[in-house]
Symmetry: C2
Subunit: 217 residues, 2 copies
DNA sequence: TCATACGTCTCTGTATACAATGCGGCCGGC
DNA sequence: GCCGGCCGCATTGTATACAGAGACGTATGA
């Protein structure tokens, strides 16, 4: 879906325009837009149609705050419920992630980051938790691209390794502690990230991100 | 909306049928159904249409688990962020709740219960948290009706009063502790509640609940 | 010159028609 | 008698047409 801020914040999305661009009629367009509204990617005003959500610092802050509590809950549950084989697999995944080239795009790096967290959420055996986290991740993805741009990679890898170690030790409290810090540190930088985000949006960066490549950097 | 298990689990919802009953055409029907799918009230299969979600114990369990972590996060934040005036108002609300008649319907009692928790979520100043909790509450409401049916009222009121006391004391840890227990106790009974729920559904109870009255009991 | 009111026009909201897919029943063959 | 294929029907998926509401522009009057 084209909702990775390829549309500018508050830009109105005329249905007829989207029809021409996507070569389908208004009915399926409206169905898709409606779903995107309930998932928080668009806002809707009666008789005025759909528009792109604003890039709002408070909203992103709130999402990070919710994400923090859910990720902490997930990792606690994972410490109880994950099998040894799953933790072994997670270890393999982290090794593979570290092998990614130094010049990998932020889009790819954030993808690996999300994949790590999603695996843990999967270990919680709670599909609702996983579902909500996926939605939040999609909504804050843009900000995580920005955040990843300067030197976050090393710290991320270190902290992920710590989480894994605590999981292997089945130490739920330690897991929660690391995860809280891991996300709180991002949360503290939101305002700066948002400011940077506006610049990116109006420079058109990331517009091709849905193909897996970033034009930023 | 008619999604308080007036439809039986897995019952197929034919669009044309709903059109006749609601006196509108298929287009707005489909839009509403689509939204209900993304909110978790219906399931959708391509070329087979919409059907009522099953009353699934695992799903309800997961929702309670997510709710627990979010409510705990909310009450922690509320302990930091609520104003004294807001806590005073919450106290008024609890007094008023206690004044509700002993023969009040479970629908009304659960409504008061939800209102208490929603107020706390509001004090967290986190609108995303509030939004997700509202959705979860709507999805587990049916089970809370069942749960409220036998003598839960007194315990609920006691525990709510304890939460308020901890909030007034600005003791976030104590708040979290009480809230965790408050919800965990419900979670432990899910399986029994679900079993009872099936009986209610196939007996047609609660079918008039959206008008504010229960036919059960 | 500015404000207000009216008219037009674009875009949304809803209905309806048509196409396509899947399911069930029926008939024929083994 | 049972299994498999085929045909018909019901239901979903998509397109399009029409109606209604809101916004913008213009014109007129103070």
């Amino acid at each position: 879906m084209a909702i990775t801020y390829q549309f500018r914040p508050l830009e109105r999305l005329a249905e007829a325009d989207l029809c021409r661009r996507l070569k389908v009629s208004r009915t399926p367009i409206r169905e898709a837009l409606n779903r995107l509204v309930t998932e928080g990617f668009l806002v809707f005003t009666p008789n005025r149609g759909f528009q792109c959500r604003p890039l709002d610092a408070k909203e992103i802050f709130d999402l990070y705050e919710v994400r923090r509590s859910l990720e902490v809950a997930a990792v606690r549950l994972a410490a109880e419920r994950a099998t040894d084989a799953e933790l072994e697999e997670l270890d393999q995944f982290l090794r593979a992630s570290r092998a990614a080239p130094a010049e990998a795009s932020v889009v790819d790096l954030v993808g690996l980051d999300e994949a790590f967290h999603e695996r843990i959420a999967g270990f919680s055996r709670n599909s609702e938790l996983l579902h909500i986290l996926r939605n939040i991740n999609a909504r804050i993805r843009f900000c995580r691209w920005i955040d990843m741009e300067n030197g976050r990679r090393a710290a991320t890898q270190t902290e992920h390794a710590e989480v894994l170690a605590a999981l292997v030790a089945r130490d739920a409290e330690r897991c929660a502690e690391i995860m809280t810090g891991h996300i709180t540190r991002r949360l503290d930088q939101i305002v700066d990230v948002i400011r940077e985000g506006y610049a990116r949006i109006y420079m058109g960066a990331y517009a091709g991100a849905e193909t897996g490549r970033s034009r930023a950097g």
